[in-house]
Symmetry: C2
Subunit: 374 residues, 2 copies
Amino acid sequence: MPPLLIVAVLGLWAGPAWAQQPAANPPGKAAAPARNASPEIGPDRRVTFRLLAPKASEVLVSGEFMAASKALEKGADGLWSVTVGPVEPEIYYYNFTIDGVHTIDPGNPDVKTGSTSGTIQSVLEVRGDQPAFYDGQPVPHGEIRTHWYQSKSLGRLRRLTVYVPPGYDRDAAARLPVLYLFHGANADETAWTRLGHVNLILDNLLAAGKTRPFLVVMPFGYGVPPGTPGDNTAMFSRDLREDVIPYIDAQYRTLADRDHRAIVGLSMGGGQSLGIGLSHLELFSYVGGFSAALNGGDFAKTYAGLIADPAATNRQLHLLWVGCGTEDSLFPAAKKFTDFLTENKIKHTFRESSGAHTWMVWRRYLNEVAPLLF
Amino acid sequence: MPPLLIVAVLGLWAGPAWAQQPAANPPGKAAAPARNASPEIGPDRRVTFRLLAPKASEVLVSGEFMAASKALEKGADGLWSVTVGPVEPEIYYYNFTIDGVHTIDPGNPDVKTGSTSGTIQSVLEVRGDQPAFYDGQPVPHGEIRTHWYQSKSLGRLRRLTVYVPPGYDRDAAARLPVLYLFHGANADETAWTRLGHVNLILDNLLAAGKTRPFLVVMPFGYGVPPGTPGDNTAMFSRDLREDVIPYIDAQYRTLADRDHRAIVGLSMGGGQSLGIGLSHLELFSYVGGFSAALNGGDFAKTYAGLIADPAATNRQLHLLWVGCGTEDSLFPAAKKFTDFLTENKIKHTFRESSGAHTWMVWRRYLNEVAPLLF
């Protein structure tokens, strides 16, 4: 059986628990695919979606691997199906629309969840001939630790996740720098692990000697529930500065100073990382925004402190990195923001990449930015 | 606003990230519920399910909170709805069936995922006036650590999760006993945390002085992918004994002997914990099965070693605990197994409880059994 066909067959039972495991050496032979298996990935990387729905009158699939939605065709037995592709190796999200109801592919156990309704999607992972930079590989592995902490500023029990690089427990004297890394709207503190493969990307970079070990702290980005009134970023900023950072510096052996602290986020979290980071250079010296939500706002007013003395700012900032895909609707805002930085002589990197507002872009950005930190 | 109404309103945005947080002191006021909000929990604990589906001809809801599925009624605008209950405070799973397609409630972000298709369900959490034993409370909290380890016996990178009780990192001399805790069919190594609230249950028991601190190790229970040929329990048993236990004893400060090792599982994992545990008394002295899959099999043959010298077995076993709900289809098998133990003079506890094959039962069993360990 050629390797890709094995992957394809394995794809039938590839739930979340198997998703981050190497495709090599599958133990045992997979059972024959069910008649309504979905998605089924062929050896040519063409993907077949199926749904048994005798009563439905229209079934559509829409996903990041194609520009427009596509109709499934109804077979005589009520089994709808469509084949798309070939699809490039990547991790994609998609949805079914069944008689106008936007939902997941019920046949696929691998689901991307979020913290608000309407964000549930099915996952399509197409593997290539070689492991990707975000795949689990035979290298030393770090851990993901989930903490429950009492946020005094928010009056709530909250969760955060931490990537702990391999070897942390073995060297009781080592102190590590910390990257604070934020998710986007509708997501939660598990997103960077579950969707971003933060641990596998860093494990691989560390094994290749391309980055130094650091902790990654991923808090929950909503200070108030999504959709409720209240200054979410202000409340999140207080939680971060008054609760999360002190908690982390108490729980872990950190290098607890601005020179060893980075702040990066994506989308809503990018607006937060730039907004909080660039207003608190006493806390952070590496600042990044991935496809940041920078809509509107008077930059000159918001960042008055930053631009007041550009030379002083540039001495303090070890890195200011702004990336956005040219197909992203937030691209003009990113361009406007970096033009503002340029006009005000603030040193920075503007990474104009291909891509849209997707995790494909954010995984690649993390892989690019991690080696620039610390 | 009475407390329950706050809970109800919060229920509208209560995704996984909020689900384990106390309902008290919500920061800010929730936005008005969307017209198609689902599920909406009223102050009387009646629950309304909704779906906007103008083209559908039939929408059903089925869930653990009621005996039979119930039809939603179509409003003039294509908004289907039904109200059920009052529903007792608990965490339930449910599904929609839209024109014959069994799927989730697309309006509810809180989803129970599994490792095989057909296992995706929506989550309904109904809170009571007081916190439940499985709720996050203002007590010291342990951590959940996710490890990626290379299983030599399976030739694969695999994941496992570990509950680390509060204070473990502060007392560098303390060594802890270990409970190996297994999930059921179609689930994965995250199930006991995500659905079982293992960490919150143990945090609460520890705070009440009802149990002593121990580690809980939750491996992935499939040695071969679900549905593939191969002796799953035999491969899982090898992974456990040759890879997982040595890995844990190397990573953590454990009490690495049979007197400080327990093995417990539910359903498929209950079959595994009884099968492996009772065949390896050199490794384990506390053994439990929750609603264990014990279908068929010749007990006298499988457990020949166990019953050969009952007095010796009883000296070795600190606990043998078998629990099953009387509404569970596996109840007769559990009864047959415990009758077999009784006939052969093997000391054990048979817990006949109310309930079916649900996480409600398993959370309660964990809460009951944890104080009996070590």
